[in-house]
């Protein structure tokens, strides 16, 4: 019987000496989805992912990956996952294509190496030693190594860090293609736009726990206030507007003729604002509803101050 989730982590605790890196973390990754694992540095992302990959033994809690125990059933699990390490894990003198061919040789039904090299734009540097590849090329080779064995589940650690915009979009397209073909992807990232673009599900981790999980839309919708902005004639009577609106709503004229409302921005509120404008002979020449971005949510949840 196959477990329905690709990754199931429950109550994971991992300590290094006196430091608790992961403190009762729960995470579920559904099969066939892209899940982004977001968190500040030191939040416990890498430790959690490395526990899923079988590198670390949990101090307590359970971890199941494709229904298997990553430590006890490592031999069964390893052929089924693809791992992209941030550090590369490639010998500096090893050549790009030979590294990829070698990884392919360790698998039963690998992807065709030339096609994969082409797809990742590594065509010109097959014979280049790893240390002479550019940062972006090294990154893409790391990604290719994770994919060549045709895994069911791939772990990508900051797959687009250090890539130029073209390469970044190419990588995103590839991740979408993976999902379309039924591969489950768990990616850790600092890039909010990446998480928002790619993922079906986002898990925000801080202090060794998942503090929020949901689709980007769910996360952005919930919680604190949204904003509606409009421009019109300067000096509108905001008190009269507020009377028409729900009690929690705030209003301000930021600069002459530029207004901002904060509160629960829903269709009703928008309708109320426009009908108030009509009654008062105001034509708002620009009106916009601003959704919170994932970055807003993230900063709200994990705190705005930088941490060491």
């Amino acid at each position: 019987m196959r477990s329905s989730a690709a990754v199931e982590v429950a109550g994971l605790v991992k300590r290094y000496g006196s430091r608790t890196a992961v403190d009762g973390l729960d995470l579920t990754v559904a099969r066939g989805t892209v899940t982004a694992f977001l968190g500040p540095n030191g939040a416990g992302k890498t430790t959690t992912v490395e526990t899923c990959e079988g590198y670390r033994r949990p101090d307590s809690g359970t971890v199941r990956v494709l229904g298997l125990d990553p430590v006890a059933q490592s031999a069964e699990l390893r052929p089924r996952i693809g791992v992209m390490l941030q550090s590369g894990g490639i010998y500096p003198t090893a050549r790009a294509e030979e590294t990829l061919r070698h990884m392919a040789a360790l698998h039963a039904h690998p992807l065709e190496v030339p096609a994969l090299i082409e797809r990742l734009g590594l065509g010109g540097c097959g014979r280049t030693p790893y240390r002479r590849l550019s940062g972006g090329q090294q990154q893409r080779l790391g990604l290719a190594l994770a994919l060549v064995g045709r895994p069911e589940l791939v772990f990508l650690d900051e797959p687009t860090a250090g890539l130029d915009p073209q390469a970044r979009h190419a990588t995103w397209d590839l991740v979408r293609e993976l999902r379309a073909d039924g591969v489950t992807v768990l990616l850790t990232t600092h890039a909010m736009d990446e998480a928002e673009e790619l993922s079906d599900d986002v898990a925000i981790v801080d202090g060794g726990r998942v503090i929020a999980q949901g689709s980007p839309e769910e996360l952005c919708r919930g919680g604190a206030e949204n904003t509606l902005r409009f421009t019109g004639r300067p000096g509108l009577d905001l008190k009269s507007l507020l009377k028409a609106l729900p009690p929690q709503t705030g209003a301000a004229e930021l600069s002459p003729g530029s207004y901002r409302l904060t509160g629960t921005v829903d269709p009703q509120l928008l309708a109320t604002v426009t009908s108030w404008c009509a009654q008062n002979g105001v034509l708002p020449d620009r009106i916009s509803v601003e959704r919170r971005t994932l970055e807003d949510v993230f900063l709200e949840l994990t705190g705005k101050e930088l941490r060491s």
Binding site: P79, G88, T93, E98, L106, A108, L145, D181
Partner: protein, 262 residues
């Protein structure tokens, strides 16, 4: 099943996971390691250039008194022992130390290749390089007038036990020290054992007290054993084989116990 059509698509990346058959994995790994070693200039200096130079130089010029008989008959077995030391110990320690440092071992730890498969591959790679060294150095020695004796099986057994002993010690060093420390220490040990292990300098040149200690070194046992067989035609040098066996058990045991993969 989720609503995204999991597993039913025939796309290019549709999952088809599985490990390759074990012999294929080990062969691929051994081949990669062998190529990496043969491409590495510093390693070739250690495994090919230095032993060949020492063999030619010390055979041609009377630098050290090697006792009665032709100098090359004394030197060739010692140089073969040095070749095993350079590949199984120094080369393997440095390569593995840097593989650990660059995360190569970690990366392979998530691949289908099991750890013991990796170790088997490393051993195969060491044996292939040693075979090339033995061929080359024997050819050079023969040109210099070497006339080997003895039982080839005894030579093979000595070389294999020597390889096991040095591999254990090399992996112990690579798996416990920082890569830079391994690089320095492995080279230092190479030079010390070259001088004090009966490779080019007969142990009889050392004071008695030092001699009895130096005799117990794996390099001394290997060079002495090879010399017994190849120079004097001894059947099986059991004493030397015993010393190598003890080092092999201790070295491999400690490496298995203390090796850190990251």
């Amino acid at each position: 099943m989720t609503g995204t059509g999991t597993g039913t698509t025939g796309g290019r990346y549709a999952p088809a996971p599985g490990a390759a058959p074990l012999p294929r994995m080990v062969r691929a790994q051994a081949w990669l390691e062998t190529r990496t070693q043969l491409r590495n200039g510093e390693q070739l200096l250690l495994t090919v250039v230095i032993p060949t130079l020492l063999l030619v130089l010390f055979s041609a010029v009377d630098i050290v008194d090697t006792g009665r008989g032709s100098r090359v008959d004394f030197l060739a077995p010692g140089i073969l022992a040095l070749a095993v030391l350079s590949t199984a110990f120094t080369g393997q320690a440095i390569a593995t130390g840097f593989e650990r440092r660059y995360g190569v071992l970690k990366r392979l730890g998530a691949s289908p290749l099991p750890r013991w498969g990796l170790m088997t591959a490393k051993t195969c790679s060491v044996l292939v390089i040693e075979a090339l060294q033995v061929l080359l150095l024997s050819a050079v020695a023969l040109v210099l007038g070497w006339s080997p004796h003895g039982n080839p099986a005894a030579v093979l057994l000595l070389l294999l036990l020597g390889t096991a002993a040095f591999s254990g010690l090399g992996l112990l060093m690579a798996g416990t020290l920082r890569a830079e420390a391994t690089l320095a220490a492995a080279n230092l040990v190479f030079i010390l054992l070259l001088v004090g292990g009966g490779v080019v300098v007969p142990l009889e040149r050392f004071p008695d007290g030092a001699q009895s200690v130096l005799q117990l070194l794996p390099i001394s046992a290997l060079s002495d054993g090879l010399r017994e067989v190849l120079r004097h035609g001894t059947g099986m040098p059991w004493g030397d084989l015993g010393v190598l066996a003890v080092w092999a058990v201790l070295g491999l045991g400690a490496a298995a116990r203390f090796f850190k993969w990251e």
